[in-house]
Amino acid sequence: MPVIHIDGQEYEVEAGQNILQACLSLGLDLPYFCWHPAMGSIGACRQCAVVQYLNPEDNRGRIVMGCMTPVMDGAIFSLNGDKASEFRRTIVESLMLNHPHDCPVCAEGGECHLQDMTVMVGHRDRQYRGKKNTHRNQYLGPLIHHEMNRCITCYRCTRFYNDYAGGTDLAAMAAHDHTYFGRHEEGVLQSEFAGNLVEVCPTGVFTDKSLMKGYTRKWDLQSAPSVCTGCAVGCNTLPGERYGKLKRVHNRFNAEVNGYFLCDRGRFGAAFVNSEKSLEYPGLRGEDGRFNALDHHSALMHMVHACHAEEGKNKVAGIGSPRASVEANYLLRLLVGAENFAPGFSDREQPLIELALALQQDSPALIPDIQTIESADAILILGEDLTNTAPRIALALRQSVRNKAYELAAELRLEAWQDAAIRNLAQDQRSPLFIASVADSRLDDIAEDRVALAPDDIARLGFAVAKLIGGENISELEPELQARAQAIATALQNAQRPLIISGTGCGNAAVMQAAAQIAQALCQAHNRAMLALAVPEANSLGQAMLTGPGAQSLAQLSKRAAAGKLDTLIILENDLYRRGPKASIDALLANVANVIVLDTLDNATLSASSLALPAASFAESEGTLVSMEGRAQRYYPVFVPRQERRASWIWLLAVMKESEREEVSELHSFDDITRACASDIPALSGITGAAPDAHFRNAGLKIPRQTHRYSGRTAMRADVSVHEPKQPVDEESPLAFSMEGLNRSQPGSLLPFVWAPGWNSNQSLHKFQSEVGGHLKGGTAGARLLLPATGTSASTATQPDATLAPSAPQQPGQWQMVPRYKIFGSDELSVHSPAIAELVDPGFIEISSDDARALGVNDGEGLVLNKPDNASQGELLTIAVATLEVRLNDSIAVGCAGYSVGLAGTEDIIAADKLVLSKADNWKRHKPQIIGSDGGGSTGGDHV
């Protein structure tokens, strides 16, 4: 390790770093703006200046930029000498010339990197008396507020938005002191990762619009480590609360998962917690069919009664949920018995998720975390639209394809942080990414080749690639696909770290099997292939681990209910109407006398229940979720649930305790349940490692959820009572609802907020990292439950009898339904966040313009989707499944029609259904339901 001298001290530093990184890693405070640990250096802001001396005799030295100067053995620097300090002070002074004096009304205030750096360099008195520049701000959509006057032209925003995240609609305009960062015209920012601007911009130019609507300073937020429930990626988050409302979500650094960035569904979607639909009291359906509010104890007794099985008379079953915690699902399964427990997947989805788990458990390939995904140097995506199903992974792939650039840079001995140089060097040379999917995707711009195919054809292409790698022949395949398969196989074989990604997203088992086969074939030839399979929900994989294969399906339960064999059905955090056609769910619920539903927000299933119990959301409860890479992660209550809301695990444990059930006699706390689940279910045995238990203390202290400046504890309830209530006590975790305790160096799973003296902004994170940009000092959060299978023997799951020959042509006049996911809209909960709701379109069906012409419809007109009625003989009879707005998309695979998953109107469509389409008469084009967010939002509502 090189030794450098800083202000007369010797330090050993990491080779390959720059001086700025070295200083920060050593714990020395060197101000900076434009450098970002995930985006490297460009030397634009001139803030990180230090003085470098040629040799010990040199006493003049020269100013160099710390972020652009590599560490070299024996190099001599001055960080705190007058010359360097004065330079840095004047840089801030020059940035301040045009910066407004508006910290008190700025949403960044109190967590502003510019404030911190200004104080750090000692610039106090403003000498400039001239006029300041002012800019016109833009409407940028419902998520982000724009306040251009605060810009210090560090270029971090465009570097993140364009270079890192692949956005195209934000740019630096004009030049010198009127440089402007914005869109070329007002309108919604198009990137799914735009929300990161809030954290990337070191000042208050881009701020969180929802936070501004009920503003709270960072120091007044109560926060706790949490996990995003938006999808199965499991990004780590830091939600902040005040007055019982979730105010905002910030990124919680996890080097192996989300790093520094979240997607906008995760960041802005969590506000569903504040929805008016949130249930506060239990409700019991009365004689008149209406719900009457109950207190929690009477509700509990009703449930105990309903669950009481008398000589096998009362048959109880439970439906769990892939969006509920492992613990709650485990308890429900315990309560009703494994044979009466359905995991709560749709019938279509259940085998797919079981398969995704089996394939990963059996695969000799590495199941990568996101950091490892970023190391891939050749990638094949089979059938998954990652930007909409696992968004953070799509962002990671944009970094993976840059490995080619880093290779080129290494040849020239450029360090990886030389961002501008490396981008210039590589231009558009990228590591190969191949996409086979049902239609276009947001990653197409970085793909070497992309082909749109029907799901079965994607699978055939995949199997062919696997065969080629295994040295078999693929002559059955159409010649055009043969060439493609050959190119893909060659690229994967030539790579050091090939990655295959697929998932449940196109609703086809063979596609995932093909992906696993390729990974396996590569492993037999290679040492390091990676396989990633996306699943839909935050705990889909955990749920499959809990039940193991062959669990009760909804169809099986429905059958039992229809046969009059079910009296009570307990549904845990699951809106069944999103899991199957309305008619069959109606039937299931009608055939059961007691329908008990535990959920957070009102929904159709809850409305059909006889007893509804308010379940605390992720922000008010603790739980473990298993992400798509098999990482068990713990989330903690950010605040205490309102009114009669309780965590589902508490409801369920209480019911079993009241019923004096033997199995729970030893279970008293949340940790007990986690431990019981770990010892009962081998696949989940690792979940206790997700986070320390409630006994953990940091140097003898609990970990505070409130900052040391948390204010107004007495005043904030003064409208109700002038007496300050006792702070709630958290017995279930090592965290405290208090300012007291120690927030330093604890395990990463227990990080409630970042702050360090002099570093109020999120840039203080580096004080919690072992080295700047590296792992958290206390270790990375989460426990991996999936380890690569040893041996390369072919597993049963990966081995269907793969045929490469094209299947029989589709019936003319029928279209195969292929799912099209939407980051805003396909997920159940995030659409209840007001900001996200503005971005949700009405349901649609995507067909090619040729098909549209044949059907006689235009973009924006309506199509009726009909199911051919098999029962009818001869004559063509059909049943209408849906009527949807047409969207033309010429990238869609031949014979396929894409439907918007999870959006209104598509409930009854099932992936792979073959439907007949016909023009809808009297179709009125839907207006998107947009709630105006902003006076200036003229362009905001126009999505069609």
Partner: protein, 165 residues
């Protein structure tokens, strides 16, 4: 060729395509394309910008970043002749501020404004490279050196606001 013809004339497209044949990536012809369209239309409207961006396969934001970077690409309509008054160091020392005042009085326009008869637009310019003859300005394609209140008077004598030249 481009389906977006209405926003770009055939002559413009032909000229842009000629530039495109000289560059390895289409975005490399961005500045030339902007200059070509400006030569035909006097300025770059939002419609022109969008059409050029589409023709070059760039995003409008990216192209606008380039267009607004250069002082001599006009994103708003300008008069028949653009007055580029240098206000960089040398010309500033030699009194460009007072000269600007004179122009404003004579033509009735401030910086960034166009006379009502659409003859002149006044814009600042940082160094015309003729510092030895400071203060200087350009009117249309002509460089005027060592300008004084008198020479301005003569130059714009029959201009007046809205008057004839």
């Amino acid at each position: 060729m481009s389906e977006l013809i209405p926003a770009l004339s055939e002559a413009e497209i032909a000229a842009i395509d000629a530039e495109l044949s000289h560059v390895p990536v289409p975005a490399g012809a961005a500045i030339d394309a902007l200059k070509i369209v400006q030569a035909h239309r006097g300025w770059i409207s939002d419609e022109s910008l969008n059409a050029i961006a589409k023709h070059l396969g760039m995003s409008a934001a990216e192209l606008d970043g380039i267009a607004t970077f250069y002082t001599l690409i006009f994103r708003r309509p300008v008069g028949e002749k653009v007055i580029l008054l240098c206000n960089s160091v040398t010309c500033w020392m030699k009194g460009c501020d007072a000269l600007q005042q004179t122009i404003t009085e004579q033509l009735g326009i401030g910086m960034g404004e166009t006379t009502t008869d659409n003859k002149y637009t006044l814009l600042p310019m940082t160094c015309l490279g003729a510092c030895d003859k400071a203060p200087v300005m350009m009117v249309g394609d002509d460089l005027h050196e060592e300008i004084t209140a008198q020479s301005l008077q003569a130059l714009f004598s029959n201009a007046g606001s809205g008057g004839e030249t």
